[in-house]
């Protein structure tokens, strides 16, 4: 539990192993809501929020329950169930107690409970961080740091992308490539460029 671990995890998850450009997870919200920068901010806020909660809960579940009772093979099903019900529960609480937060995040929350990026980060935390000899607190700290970095990386790309899309509107893109196809080409070129950052950590 140190600042070095925290910042290393954040930079690595945000820039070098960027969830969209390097792992190709979370492509559907990336294409769906990157049209306007306002909805991009809402979506990335919701993803960051859910990702932090989900990685905390799933890591705890895996370490303290599934591994203890020797049933780690059901982790995928357990994670899906836990994440989905947890987020629905958080949404209800938010609706009851904080209307303003519900209005800014609310419509995106149900959309991303089943998002592959959330489940992907939870599973990757188990593969990369969890180990029999890793103390619970250290592990969960690193898992949460990684998920913060991943959420920020998602937000960074989706936000930068929303303004690229505005620029694309003004460009003379061939009819057949308008919209999603040219967005995927842009994402591919960005991913090539992010390749240059490999090896930093």
């Amino acid at each position: 539990m140190s600042l070095t671990v925290f910042f290393t995890a954040i930079v690595s998850a945000m820039l070098i192993n960027n969830v969209i450009l390097m792992q190709f997870l979370g492509i559907c919200p990336f294409l769906g809501v990157s049209k306007k920068s306002k909805s991009a901010i809402g979506m990335s806020g919701a993803v960051l929020f859910v990702m932090v909660i989900a990685s905390f809960v799933t890591y705890t579940l895996y370490d303290l329950v599934l591994y203890e009772y020797n049933i780690p093979y059901i982790s995928t099903i357990a994670f899906i169930l836990v994440i989905a019900s947890l987020v629905q529960f958080v949404e209800m609480v938010m609706k009851r107690y904080s209307q303003s937060l519900y209005k800014s995040l609310g419509i995106y929350l149900p959309l991303i409970t089943t998002n592959c990026a959330i489940l992907g980060v939870s599973e990757a935390n188990i593969t990369a961080i969890w180990g029999e000899s890793v103390p619970y607190l250290d592990g969960v700290f690193q898992a949460v740091s990684t998920s913060i970095g991943t959420g920020l990386g998602f937000g960074l790309v989706i936000f930068a992308f929303s303004s690229i899309r505005e620029k694309l509107e003004a460009n003379n893109v061939p009819k057949a490539w308008k919209g999603v196809p040219v967005s995927l080409v842009v994402a591919g070129i960005m991913s090539l460029a992010f390749f240059g950052l490999t090896g930093i950590i």
Binding site: N172, P174, I189, L192, A193, F195, L197, I200
Partner: protein
Amino acid sequence: MEKLVNDYGSKLLDKKDYFIYTGLLFVLLLMASMVYGSRVFLIALVVYTISFIVEYTFSRIRDKEFGVRFILTPMLLTLLLPPTIPLWIAGVGAFFSSFFGKALFGGDKGYIFSPAAVGIIFITISFPAFLNTMWLDPISGDVTTSMPIIELARGGNLSFEALLFGKTAGPLGVTYRSLIIIIGIMLGLFKIIDLKITASYLAFFFIFTVIINFLAPETARDPFMSLFVGSLLFGAFFLATDPLISPISTKGMILYGLGLGFITVIIRHFAAFPEGVVFAVVIMNAVSPLIDNLFEKEVVAND
């Protein structure tokens, strides 16, 4: 004279400007041919042919006017290739840069990423065995894997004169650095490129190199010599300054230079690739519409 802009608001160059720009860059190619022989022209021919076919086909299918504006990108791409590159790789790079970097985004009047940088990145990542090891030593003519930028990182001694007058290994057009500076300043005087971007890029590059030297002494390198190795000067004068891909407002240009300098220093000091200029240019191209949005209101207020 009325300033030409495209639908997005980026400045458009005249056709005449494209001829001047490409003509001046051709001088760099001539200097390269004196060192590496006539093979240089063969590479240029391949790159030009492939780019021409792609862009002409696009304009034919889409019923658009085919302009001579296409002549600039293939020249920039050629100048960034290594002298021993197999011709088919040069062709692949030219295809990728003109198809995915340029024609898809609508051609000469608006693209998102610098097409030449996109082509170079694509072949650098796809064919690392050819792009990272096959440099020629200009004096002995032998194949070498060592470039000034790697020597500098090892703490070796570099001759400043050799760096300025093209006597070091490197891509075709980026080693004759005194000529690059002269051509860059001439283009700036003709108002074809904006030297504010170049100045901000080089200044922030210098500042960040000093800061990183201080923070991570194990990767320290001479900040002044760092300006003259690799393709930094070429990138700062010719790649980053393309008006279609850089921010519109002056404040935006300075912020763009800051980002370019920072990413270049980070890649040079810490990443697996020795040089980060083309990567920095493409990453900052992706951020540049964001910078435009940031300063949009102030530009409107100034008009």
